[in-house]
């Protein structure tokens, strides 16, 4: 049925669903399977390749994409997301280097078999940021104590401030 055509977006589906309540049910199924665009890009969300990397990371972290699972080909994802092949290629290369996915020539791309799943992935991320903090602080000639006290201050500020979700550009 046309509704499930990969190239048909939510807009088309929604138009279909306006006619009868019965079809509304189809929409919920459609959404449960997350539809064609499993990744949603934002034009103001920073570099497109970075958004793809971040979202795939999240998918792996929450277990939506599991180790060994086949993921869309570069060209297919580019078509689905309406972004250039080169952008998706760059995201995939970056994820390969990070050990998140493997690409087998002629076979496709897969989530790496030994991928660090769940919280571990985010822990790696935090460590990366902390290393960056340490490096920057040292370059600027800060003492160890000063760096630590700044981190403490940041923690205090996070506790006091209402939690506003960061834009995805800044997160990860």
């Amino acid at each position: 049925m046309r509704l499930f055509n990969v190239r048909d977006g939510i807009v088309n589906a929604a138009i279909f669903l306006l006619d009868t309540p019965k079809k509304l049910y189809i929409l919920s199924i459609f959404n449960m399977h997350t539809g064609p665009s499993k990744i949603v890009l934002s034009q103001t969300g920073g570099p497109l390749y970075q958004q793809i990397v971040n979202q795939v990371k999240q998918k792996i972290a929450v277990g939506e994409w599991v180790a060994g699972e086949e993921i869309p080909s570069i060209r297919q994802l580019a078509a689905d997301l309406r972004v250039s092949v080169i952008t998706v290629k760059r995201a995939y290369l970056e994820m390969e280097h990070a050990g998140l996915i493997v690409t087998q020539h002629g076979k496709g791309s897969f989530v790496a078999a030994d991928v660090a799943a769940g919280p571990e992935l985010f822990e790696q991320e935090i460590d990366g940021h902390l290393e960056e903090v340490a490096r920057l602080g040292t370059t600027m000639g800060m003492s160890e104590r000063e760096i630590v006290s700044r981190l403490r201050k940041a923690l205090d500020e996070t506790e006091n401030a209402p939690v506003i979700p960061k834009s995805s550009k800044e997160s990860l």
């Binding site: 060209r75 580019a78 092949v85």
Partner: protein, 298 residues
């Protein structure tokens, strides 16, 4: 993948008030080139030469392995061309145009054409003269896409389209690219969509190609660097700076050759790097054009 769909070398064309100055560019099969230029920069002239509609004064043009304009008949079998000034017959319906085009091109895909009719929200029984500008553009695109040409040459394909139609059109263009043997060359004023779907970017200004790069490289190399300069320090010489704005104490440099080493270079001179901002394709284009025009006034 290494076949060249388009190869232009030293292509020049002189008009009384315009000179297309030895354009050289290559486009590999399976990729998308976004061609950006201001009004009157030479986009349409370049495209007309590519299509064999205008003969270049000098230089060689190969399209799908055919030399243009000499072998344009053979080349055009495999090129889908849409431009703003393309005319369809006003008194005929879209369906008439579909069967007309289908009769000439053996690779015409009727099922795909029907799908496009729905997706582009077009009515085949409607006469062309009753269509809005946007509908005409979509009709022309449909006629080009359903032929399944190996190369699409599109002159401003989304100008005048509403946001929903534009998204549909871009979606169709990208789905063409799932076939590695097909290539797209398109010009646009809309830098946002060029940034989105192009693998390669070409900037043209006043008849000259001023940039031709992989998109990701281009976006990576251009940065705005915000500095804080203490009274006794001076900004070090940085590579590729095309513009210095802001104030003496708080300058903002635009560079076309950003390197992370810039940060430590500044710090060694006592200058603080406040921020390194990436730029949109539009900002890059404007900065590029302006800096060149300043160096070389018309």
């Amino acid at each position: 993948m290494n076949n060249l769909s388009i190869q232009m070398e030293g292509v020049s064309k002189r008009y009384p008030h315009f000179f297309l100055d030895s354009i050289s560019l290559e486009l590999r099969e399976g990729s998308v080139l976004g061609f950006i230029g201001a009004n009157g920069a030479g986009k349409s002239t370049t495209i007309r030469i590519l299509m064999g509609l205008v003969r270049q004064d000098a230089g060689s043009v190969q399209v799908l392995g055919h030399s243009m304009p000499a072998e344009q008949t053979a080349a055009k079998l495999d090129i889908g061309f849409v431009s703003e000034d393309m005319r369809l017959y006003g008194a005929a319906t879209l369906r008439w145009h579909m069967s007309f085009v289908a009769s000439m091109y053996p690779r015409w895909d009727q099922a795909y054409a029907d799908t496009l009719l729905r997706r582009f929200d077009l009515k085949p029984e409607q006469k062309i003269k009753g269509l809005s500008h946007g509908q005409r553009v979509k009709a022309a695109l449909l006629l080009a896409l359903a032929r399944q040409p190996r190369l699409l040459i599109l002159d401003e394909p989304t100008t005048g389209l509403d946001p929903v139609a534009r998204r549909e059109v871009l979606g169709e263009l990208m789905s063409v690219l799932t076939d590695e043997g097909r290539t797209i060359f398109f010009s646009s004023h809309n830098t946002l969509e060029v940034e989105q779907i192009s693998d390669h970017i070409a900037f043209i200004d006043r008849g000259r190609l001023i940039a031709l790069d992989e998109k990701e490289d281009l976006l990576d190399r251009w940065r705005r660097v915000r500095l804080m300069v203490p009274p006794n320090a001076a900004v070090p010489q940085l590579p590729g700076v095309v513009e210095v704005a802001g104030t003496e104490r708080l300058p903002v440099l635009t560079t076309s050759q950003f390197d992370p080493a810039v940060v430590s270079l500044c710090q060694n001179r006592g200058v603080t790097v406040e921020a390194v901002d990436s730029m949109t394709l539009e900002e890059i284009f404007v900065a590029n054009v302006q800096s060149r025009r300043e160096l070389q006034p018309a």
